[in-house]
């Protein structure tokens, strides 16, 4: 028993310190960029108190915005206090899917930076089927989701195909595809078929009622059935990778593509199919976002989901379970960040910094050990350590 506890302690020590370091640095930035705090730099005690209170309030707001806020229960049921938690889950739901998209790619040795663009096409497809057709309950949701997944799968698969046929690096390809997708959605929202009657701003008609994902906890909380889809997708990815022959091929190509080729596995096939599936996953994220919470396509539908997906996958070490938890964490940061911005005036972009720092420290354990003067253990295998040459 003691051994198990010790091992657990070991396993959690490094990530724990990484998180602590990231949040400390974030706090420093918040404090040192605030004019009110800086004004007190003359007297150290006042300075520390002011900095401490700002940072403390910010983190409190972060918590209140992401998990539980007692203030919201006033005049409502106790349940309503969990509105922030529901927001966290709503934010995390598409993030799990995009995170899985990136994680699956990592497992096959690919860098899918294109989750953002794939998400956009998923949203476009789901939105169009959602508002343009009238289908019975259940079928409408499925049709919309499938439409979104199909478009996104093509968007991702094209990259896989290009890489398979020409050897071009998917990092550049997917980044370019993201920009193209970003401009595409700007254009399509101006076209007649996508303009909402009565509005001149770029927003599409709302999806039909039958296409919306049902709410789970009453009308006051935004949490919707998409979370089940996301979790199911995580199970699917886990099953695919560990229990199927296809997943075996993916993992082999990801671990050693040369050995995979010598063993008869078709690397171009794996690359293309992986990118298509990853596209579909990210596209499903877009569909779920539209059908579950937004209900209408707008220019900023993808928000930062694509970006965050990468940090989520990195934090989750490309494992399906890890990705789910990482998505929940970063979803919490985002949801909480909005509250933090409105209550303490700290711009929510700082959350990006925190995310980046967390990933940086988790991906560079040697650094954290160095900072805290820890002893070296068996080094964990890195996710990827390749250059352009393979």
């Amino acid at each position: 028993m003691r051994n198990r506890l010790l091992r657990f302690g070991q396993a959690i020590k490094l990530p724990g310190l990484s998180f602590g370091l990231a949040f400390t640095l974030t706090g420093l930035i918040i404090a040192l960029s605030d004019s009110r705090v800086l004004a007190k730099i003359g007297s150290p005690l006042e300075f520390v108190k002011s900095a401490g209170s700002l940072v403390g309030n910010s983190y409190l707001a972060l918590f209140q915005g992401s998990i539980f806020d007692i203030n919201l229960t006033k005049g409502h049921s106790f349940f309503q206090g969990f509105y922030p938690l529901s927001e966290t889950i709503v934010t995390a739901t598409p993030l799990i899917l995009t995170g899985l998209s990136v994680a699956l790619a990592f497992k096959s040795g690919l860098f899918n930076i294109g989750a953002q663009g794939q998400f956009i096409f998923g949203a476009i497809g789901a939105s169009y089927v959602g508002f343009h057709f009238h289908l019975p309950i259940g079928i409408h949701i499925v049709a919309a989701a499938v439409a979104g997944m199909a478009l996104a799968a093509i968007w991702g698969g094209v990259v896989g195909l290009l890489k398979a046929k020409t050897g071009a690096h998917e990092v550049i390809l997917t980044i370019m595809m993201n920009y193209i997708a970003g401009y595409f959605i700007l254009w399509i929202l101006k076209t007649k078929s996508f303009l909402r009657p009565g509005r001149i701003d770029p927003i599409a008609p709302e999806v039909g009622l039958n296409a919306r994902l049902p709410l789970l906890a009453g009308d006051n909380l935004r949490i919707h059935a998409g979370i089940f889809i996301s979790l199911a997708a995580a199970v699917f990815v886990w099953w695919l990778l560990t229990k199927t022959t296809i997943g075996f091929k993916f993992r082999t190509v990801g671990a050693n593509s040369q050995a995979a080729k010598t063993a008869g596995i078709s690397v171009p096939f794996v690359v293309t199919v992986t990118m298509a599936i990853c596209g579909a996953l990210a596209g499903l994220g877009g569909a779920v976002h539209v059908l579950g919470s937004e209900h209408a396509l707008n220019a900023d539908i993808a928000g930062s989901f694509g970006f965050d997906a990468i940090t989520v996958a990195l934090l989750g070490r490309a494992q399906p379970v890890g990705t789910v938890f990482a998505a929940l964490l970063f979803g919490a940061l985002r949801a909480g960040g909005r509250t933090m911005q409105s209550s303490t005036g700290v711009p929510l972009d700082i959350v990006l910094v925190t995310q980046a720092l967390i990933v940086l420290f988790i991906a560079a354990p040697t650094f954290v050990r160095y900072i805290f003067k820890l002893k070296k253990l068996n080094s964990a295998a890195s996710l990827t350590s390749k250059g352009w040459n393979g």
Binding site: T166, P347, T384, W388, N389
Partner: protein
């Protein structure tokens, strides 16, 4: 994945077929469709250079046909030569030029194209791409992948804009710009070299860090206190006497902001240094075979660190272009992916300085073409025009690249003793 590397012949064949197809499409589409009614006017005079021709007016359809035929002929020349080891880059470049010109002639029917201005602006827009690709070049030739070019450009754009705004002097902005780039480089070098972190992930994370920080500070300081923090003055044009009066060449190359002249100097210096000096030999050695370099007594990691820092300084200057070099004020995420296009230019240019510069100019041209056409009001939706640089990048890295061979040890941290 090096087993997805096609035979050189296949690549050249593919490049030639792509360009031939595009030439044919150009001829059919741009030469013969109705939309090309009217005449296109190319203006060649910008300011006060000597004038040979003032304008060239040509029917849009005829012009498109002429340029498409030029492209087709060039493609055929390339096709004839592809089997041998002859450099087909020249006919392919001519063909590309032809296709671009055919497109312009067709799309600007009935309109006026300020051609010299177009090219002058193209060079200007290529500036951050050139600086970025030079930065990437030095890093990658030393064996370190630099995905953080975007972050370097953005960080230095921010810092130079802010400092120039605070001091009301453009020169201070220019001076601190390299420092910002070097700061990002310091992080890149430390985590990649000292802590052997995966370089692609590291580069990406650094980009996110810079975006987060600049967005945060933008909202916190630059927007509310705009007058103090975000009204940077800009550099005007410097005119080289006599040279700037040569028609076409003059305005394009010799009547530019100081940042451009610095760029010429840096490109020349790097090209010379990389192939003719002791530093250049050692740099190339550590990128190809670091163990061999180690065995002759070269401190591989120290040189890599130094080179990454130098590359940061260079990228920093490029970032200054965005603020003090053009619009003055900093905008959120204003680099819009230029760092990645610079990386693509580096790959397209096969990790050689001249090649990278050429590729960067091409991308700059595509970018400026897009904004010029939008300004003069063509019929294609602006969003599609905005896609052009990115589509061009994709075509470049997939279709037209020849033998792609990065420095052999690129991206692999060096650990003495062959530790795995």
């Amino acid at each position: 994945m090096s087993e997805i590397r096609s035979n050189i012949q296949t690549r050249r064949l593919r490049g030639v077929s792509v360009i031939s197809l595009l030439s044919l499409v150009s001829l059919v589409f741009f030469g013969f469709t109705n939309a090309g009614k009217g005449t296109t006017t190319f203006g060649f005079v910008l300011n006060n250079e000597w004038v040979i021709i003032k304008e060239w007016v040509i029917s849009a359809a005829t012009g498109a046909k002429i340029f498409s035929v030029l492209a087709l002929v060039a493609s055929l020349v390339a096709a004839g030569a592809y089997r041998k080891k002859v450099k087909i880059i020249i006919p392919i470049s001519v063909a590309t030029f032809g296709i671009f010109m055919a497109f312009i002639t067709w799309v600007a029917a009935g309109k006026f194209i300020p051609f010299t201005g177009l090219l002058q602006g193209a060079l200007l827009l290529a500036v951050p791409l050139v600086f970025g690709s030079m930065s990437g070049l030095i890093c990658e030739r030393s064996g370190v992948i630099n995905i953080a070019i975007e972050g370097q450009l953005l960080a230095s754009a921010f810092v130079s804009g802010v400092v120039a705004s605070l001091t009301h002097k453009t020169i201070w902005g220019l001076i601190v710009a390299p420092i910002a780039g070097a700061a990002i480089s310091f992080l890149l070098a430390t985590f990649a070299i000292k802590f052997s972190m995966d370089q692609v992930i590291l580069g990406f994370v650094l980009n996110v860090l810079v975006i987060g920080l600049t967005d945060f500070l933008y909202k916190k300081l630059l927007v509310p206190y705009q007058d103090t923090w975000n009204t940077a003055p800009t550099f005007g044009h410097l005119e080289v006497p006599i040279l700037s009066k040569i028609p076409l060449i003059g305005p394009i190359f010799f009547s530019q902001s100081i940042v451009v002249f610095i760029m010429y100097a840096i490109v020349a210096a790097i090209t010379f240094a990389l192939f003719k000096t002791k530093w250049g030999l050692r740099t190339r050695a550590i990128g190809e075979h670091p163990t061999a370099a180690d065995t002759v007594g070269i401190d591989v990691n120290k040189l890599r660190f130094k080179n990454v820092m130098i590359a940061g300084l260079i990228a920093g200057v490029g970032g200054a272009y965005y603020t003090v070099g053009s619009v003055g004020a900093f905008g959120k995420e204003m680099t819009a992916g230029a760092g990645f296009i610079a990386l693509a230019a580096l790959i397209f240019g096969k990790w050689s300085p001249i090649g990278a510069v050429f590729a960067a100019l091409l991308f700059g041209f595509a970018d400026n073409l897009q904004s010029t056409l939008t300004i003069i009001g063509v019929s294609i939706p602006s969003e599609f025009m905005l896609m052009v640089p990115y589509i061009a990048t994709i075509i470049a890295v997939t279709g037209l690249v020849g033998r792609v061979r990065a420095p052999a040890a690129d991206g692999v941290p060096y650990l003495r003793g062959g530790a795995h």
